[in-house]
């Protein structure tokens, strides 16, 4: 291997200091490579980025720049589980050779010191077997790596490079590719653990959490370690002399490692080294120490190339003379955050950043109908206005909690960056994107027009609806047309003011959106948008809009229930006090509780409960089946005397049998009646059985069968009678 320093010297000799790529052995900070290396005018900004990313302020005091956020270095409490002492020693001796692009500087360490440090670090966490760890598939890992978004920051597999036809320009190589160096060296189980929760070891969030499941992490690990022949074997740790470990721990503090990494061991720490000099901006200072072309032995060597050194110098000069440099305003703070965290690898804001053209083909959709969304379908969203778009609840989901993704068709994932690094910027973001004057929307739910039902009608595809559900699904119902963002989380995710702003003028808020300007020219747009909001905030509890409701969704199906169902409602053909009786045999009937008689029979499908269960208007239900047969309009019992008055019938309710069959009870004058209608087991009709008590001479029964004629009732001496009739 050619020593790094030689390469760098060679490069310098040939005047490659302003090359478009970092010199070998120099640190890779993606944002710097992307926006600053080839733009000397942006050198101060790029230098400030490096000052932060290289964590200069961990050792140096930067007068006037106390607010510069330090970059948390990897936590080493478990490093011994990830790398064995030999690898640790190799890393410590030549960081940039072991891990190209590393931000860790080389410190001048004697071989014995390297051994001691490696021995100490090797005791921090031990390789441990993961009994539940899936084996992992290289191919599946390759697919995931290129699909979920790893390639936004890390190199794509060269074997997947697109063939370029002769004469056709190959897209420019992506800038700011962060070399993948440690994956192949990690203990396999530790790598899987790391991929599942990278923020645990690297709280800086520059390697964010892509929400890989354990199985997915095992696949990606297999892919990253595909070149490593034998499967990972965690050799039993050799006995390490205690004195060596103790010496390593001492060195960890005295040689300044703890300045960035903290102290990973419990117990008293050794004395820290003397503070590094304050950063100054005079020419002499800018040419020595870490910034010297060849750093002196006691200074850490970051391997900065000429462009990086120049940028840092420019930043320090600017800091010395311009107080405002560190206070660029809310928009500037957001911009620096996006560059620092490399959000721009995926996202555009203000026309800056976004997935590199050469990588866009790796960003795909999983749902063919989402192709119609164009780049809004496959590429991560543009971040313009997002500070006035999202609720804090949703920011939290997106940036640290997970569960914030709302584009099921988009294959790339929004990774989590961790709360500590993300949360401080939110207030700045909200300020940067504040709209003046603010959009006014009343979402109290207090106004008369703010009814969810009105919003539901607007969402639906029926006459008078806007048909929002043509593109937006809800409650796992896909949209009826193409796939845009489902509506489930809209009211928790979006600020209502943004919601209104978007609906009133989609193209000005989301240039390129496929959303039509549905509300332009609608005189009641203000009220209607509030109605939509009311519905959306309760969307999980509301009746689905027309178009998403499935036919028969509210249908009562006795045959599925396996028992007879009793259902009271307003029922066409049986009146306002109807008790519908549906049987698994598909022979149904309704009893009229007001007129006290069987009113209706029908066959096939029973009833749809939607209007009874969901409608304020309580539209009467109707028999769904066929052979709907109205039964005679008379009450069942009468006196036999000619010209006798109708006997008043009084409904007394029903009791249900074990199979759900109701027996209706009523009184007819002195008679107490139990009246049951069931599918006739002997034929295709119904068998009606009436038990009557309290009778005597002179009573007649008026049956409900077609052509039934009144017949006298023969009561037994106890005044009881059992009557039967068969209805077709």
């Amino acid at each position: 291997m050619v020593p790094v320093r030689v390469v760098r010297a060679l490069l310098a000799t040939f005047g490659c200091g302003l090359a478009a790529v970092p010199a070998a052995g120099s640190p890779v900070v993606a944002g710097f490579e992307r926006f600053h290396r080839a733009a000397p005018a942006a050198a101060p900004e790029g230098g400030l980025l490096l000052l932060g990313e290289l964590n200069c302020v961990a050792c140096h005091r930067l007068p006037g720049a106390e607010g510069l956020p330090p970059r948390p270095a990897p936590l080493l409490g478990d490093v011994g589980a990830r790398l064995d002492p030999a690898a640790l020693a190799a890393f410590l001796a030549h960081p940039a050779e072991f891990k190209p692009g590393t931000l860790m500087p080389r410190t001048t360490l004697a071989a014995a010191e390297v051994s001691a440090l490696a021995a100490y670090l090797g005791t921090l966490g031990r390789p441990r077997p993961e009994p539940e760890l899936p084996a992992g598939s290289v191919e599946a890992g390759r697919r995931l790596y290129h699909a979920v978004g790893c390639v936004a920051c890390h190199a794509a597999d060269p074997s997947l490079a697109l063939p370029v036809a002769a004469g056709e320009a190959r897209p420019p190589e992506p800038l700011g590719v962060v070399p993948l160096a440690l994956g192949a060296r990690y203990d396999r189980a530790a790598l899987v653990r790391f991929l599942i929760d990278p923020l645990a070891a690297r709280p800086a969030g520059r390697m964010p959490d892509s929400h890989l499941t354990p199985a997915e992490a095992a696949d990606v690990a297999a892919y990253l370690q595909r070149a490593r022949g034998a499967p990972a074997s965690t050799s039993a740790a050799a006995a390490v002399p205690t004195a060596l470990v103790t010496e390593g721990r001492r060195l960890f503090t005295t040689r300044g490692c703890a300045a960035c990494h903290g102290d990973p061991s419990p117990g008293p720490a050794a004395a820290a080294p003397p503070a590094a000099p304050a950063l100054r901006a005079d020419d002499a200072a800018l040419a020595r120490g870490c910034l010297a072309e060849t750093p002196p032995p006691r200074a850490p060597d970051f391997g900065l190339d000429a462009a990086q050194r120049d940028a840092v110098r420019a930043a320090l000069r600017r800091l010395a003379g311009d107080d405002s440099f560190l206070r660029p305003g809310a928009a500037g703070d957001v911009g620096r955050f996006l560059t620092r965290m490399n959000c721009h690898a995926c996202h555009t804001r203000g026309g800056r950043g976004g997935v590199e053209p050469a990588l866009q083909r790796f960003f795909t959709v999983s749902d063919a109908t989402a192709e119609a969304l164009g780049e809004m379908g496959n590429l991560p969203p543009v971040l313009d206005h997002v500070g006035r778009k999202l609720t804090r609840e949703w920011w939290a989901k997106l940036l640290w909690e997970g569960g914030g993704e709302v584009r099921p068709y988009q294959v790339a994932r929004m990774p989590a960056f961790g709360r500590a690094v993300s949360e401080p910027v939110l207030a700045r973001w909200e300020e940067a994107d504040r709209r003046e004057p603010p959009v006014a929307i009343d979402v109290s739910g207090r106004q008369l027009h703010q009814r969810a039902g009105h919003g539901r009608l607007l969402l639906g595809t029926q006459d008078g609806g806007l048909g929002c559900i043509t593109c937006h699904g809800l409650r796992e119902r896909p949209a009826v047309g193409m796939s845009a963002i489902p509506l489930d989380a809209a009211a928790r995710r979006l600020l209502p003011e943004y919601f209104k702003e978007l609906l009133l003028n989609p193209q000005s808020v989301q240039p390129g959106t496929r959303m039509p300007p549905m509300f332009q020219g609608r005189p009641k747009a203000n009220q209607e948008i509030e109605q939509l909001w009311t519905y959306l905030k309760e969307a999980d509890q509301q009746l689905l809009p027309e178009g998403l409701l499935r036919g028969g969704e509210y249908e009562l199906r006795p045959e599925q229930a396996g028992r007879t169902l009793v259902f009271r409602t307003f029922l066409q053909g049986a009146g306002l006090d109807a008790v519908a009786v549906g049987t698994p045999a598909g022979r149904h009937a309704a009893f009229d509780g007001r007129e006290v008689r069987w009113a209706l029979t029908w066959r096939g499908r029973f009833l749809d409960a939607l209007t009874t269960w969901e409608e304020r208007a309580m539209t009467p239900a109707r028999p769904l089946g066929d052979a709907v047969t109205p039964l005679p309009g008379w009450t069942p019992f009468a006196r036999a005397e000619a010209g006798a008055a109708e006997v008043p019938h009084r409904f007394r309710g029903h009791v249900t049998a074990a199979d759900g069959t109701p027996t209706f009870r009523y009184e007819a004058g002195p008679l107490q009646v139990e009246d049951t209608l069931r599918p006739d087991p002997a034929g295709g009709g119904y068998l009606r059985v009436l038990r009557v008590r309290g009778g005597g001479p002179g009573w007649i029964f008026r049956g409900a069968a077609p052509g039934a004629t009144p017949r006298p009732i023969a009561f037994d001496p106890a005044g009881e009678a059992l009557l039967e009739e068969v209805l077709p």
Partner: protein, 500 residues
Amino acid sequence: MSAARLARGSRAALLLAFGAALARGAEPAAPAYELTPYALPTESKFEVSGIALLPDGRAALTLRKGEIWILENPLEDPARARFSRFATGLHEPLGLTWRDGALYTAQRSEVTRIADRDGDGVADLYETAAKGWGLSGNYHEYAYGPVFDHEGNLWVTLNVTIGAPAKIDGHRPAGPLWRGWAMRQAPGGELLPVAAGFRSPFGLGVNLAGDVFATDQQGNWWGTCPLIHVRPGKFYGHADSIPETRRPESLVRDPGPLPAGLTMVEAAARIPGFALPAVWFPYAKMGQSTTGIVCDRTGGAFGPFAGQLFVGDFTLAQVNRVFLEQVDGEYQGACFPFQEQLQSAVLQMAFLGDGSMILGESNRGWNSLGSRSFGLERLRWTGKVPFEIQRMEATPDGFRLTFTEPLAGEAVVTPALFTLSSYTYLYRQNYGSPETDPRPVTVEAVAVASDRRSVTLRCGGQRPGHVHELAVGDLRSAGGQPLRHARAYYTLNRIPGRAR
């Protein structure tokens, strides 16, 4: 590794819970009441419209879609609530009561007595317990209740018809509908119409003395929402029920042609049989749509309000509190805000065995504050005494305020701390009414009781029949708390000791 995921998940849940608590405006330290939503089954929409406590401590709930469910463990962590379906196929039940081994609920067309005869945990008896009103099929013809008074009479109230009847085959209109009436059925007797003039009397409740109260909704003939002491023979103002007063069986005298342009106070003086509500809930200040009524029979387990009434509100998703007293034998009193920011429209409340309040919610068809369309919540007193105006009583020359805690010893209590005004409403067919004929009421002198628990206000300018609105300035309890609610609204139908 999955542990890491889990840990992250639970941290997120905690943060969410904390955020939610903040968002709901929970008091930051040691709140007097703790509000917790129940985790609900997903098989049915828990649009809870009626609640009855069973003798074994479980709670039965009616759902608007027509079911009754049993909450098996209401006192345990609401996140681990267990429910079982008890009854199905009912027609929009809006109320639930347990009595003598059975549940009673008002369906659209009858009161039904529901019981489980074979002990399998599912209802098998649906017995008509009271019937005798009519329907046109108009959707607004709700029936509410029932409740039982101390004599065992069953009461139910009937919404007026609002809008056109439904076109429905098989319905042959017959007989009076009794819409807008309160109905009563004595044990073993018939259901009879007893009081008229209601509009949308959702709430029914019985106070400690056994008297029956109903709430109604602001709208036509109702300037704002009232709490009504329901008595046979009275007419409360909504005109749709007047035709039935001319029937021979009516206990309510025909009020005759209704004069136009009256205030409620004038209407009460001029219209025969007209009775004023016991309490008015000033619109928007004290809710917009009163619902269920529950009397605090917890003996103090729910805090320092034993014997008082709590009244739900639909639109504002809150619960208000009512103190009643009798002057010349007639109920009147004050209402106070009590618990805001429920998750949806409050329909019904009941008390659980430990004195917690359970609240059923649904806003379907209308709209409400809150974030949910329906739900069930528990409101538990933490034991910390909330500093509130416990009672506001009328005196011959003013009012007496009693607080839940003694006033701070150092508090200088002056008349300037108390602002009073009075107003009434128009009695008219139009929808609602502005506060009408407002006038200031002077507070001339105040006297603090020796136990510092009450303050007597000597006032000038009180007017019988009017709402007297009180606002209290910065007054602290001996424990240093500010008033949780510094407003009260006293409906001064009668001034004690003064002839009407």
